[in-house]
Symmetry: C2
Amino acid sequence: MEIREATTGDWDDIFPIFSAIVEAGQSYALPLGLSSEEARSVWMESPPARTVVAVVGGSLLGTAKMGPNRPGRGSHIATASFMVSPNAERQGVGHALGDHVVEWARSRGFLGIQFNAVVESNRVAIRAWEKLGFRIIGTVPKAFDHPQDGLVGLHVMFLDLSQS
Amino acid sequence: MEIREATTGDWDDIFPIFSAIVEAGQSYALPLGLSSEEARSVWMESPPARTVVAVVGGSLLGTAKMGPNRPGRGSHIATASFMVSPNAERQGVGHALGDHVVEWARSRGFLGIQFNAVVESNRVAIRAWEKLGFRIIGTVPKAFDHPQDGLVGLHVMFLDLSQS
């Protein structure tokens, strides 16, 4: 699996994944029904943030974006978001992207990584982030309207990098 | 004290407050050194969000903005930000703006209000929000670089409106 910077030419492969995941509605509080152009401006980042893709045998199977969680006096904490193709689940793509983000944040000198809104019922993601060392800082109750589970909480998760 | 929707003409009175508070660096992780035009696009909201001002005897003493905290499946939780003129502290302006925001969110049917990043050492603000019924959901450690206090935590605070 290769993880590399996303290029403009990748967008046609990223958008179907973005669209499938956002419209399924199980993991992201992003606007629904975005056009390809609108979604691109949400997902494709510019410095100091960046977007990467995970490619296996020429197929784009996942993508992540990462950058400072806040500007100014909060810019020493990173954040990131992840999307794996629904056709490529349980193949380690999410884990590989997670490892990549942690290494990126560590190498850039960020003191931690914060996930602002991890859907409480998305147990596969929570387990993956906990394996990477993230812990749940707190849970905003009923903050996500899940199509099957109803109103569920959103976890704030955090990985401390200040000792590393 | 009158609290009303901010108009375009208010910006010249809002910007000095915005600028003084952001540059003092004690309460907001916003970009530093913004021009008036850049700051306006940060602070002056459009529907479904809105910006209000607090006016006493013709003087603009504070401002707040409020709206959905997230789009899509998270849009039933509100958020808000507040700024009070450094010349008008301890006159109840923040409390009045806080009451206004809670009433607005309640009347619009939001199920809760989330503050994403309350600086841990900003005890006046925390006490004010706790009086309004907010509680601390969790604290991201060392997430804010305070000019006097060093690295301090950022609280996520939440007010449940789902019973009201």
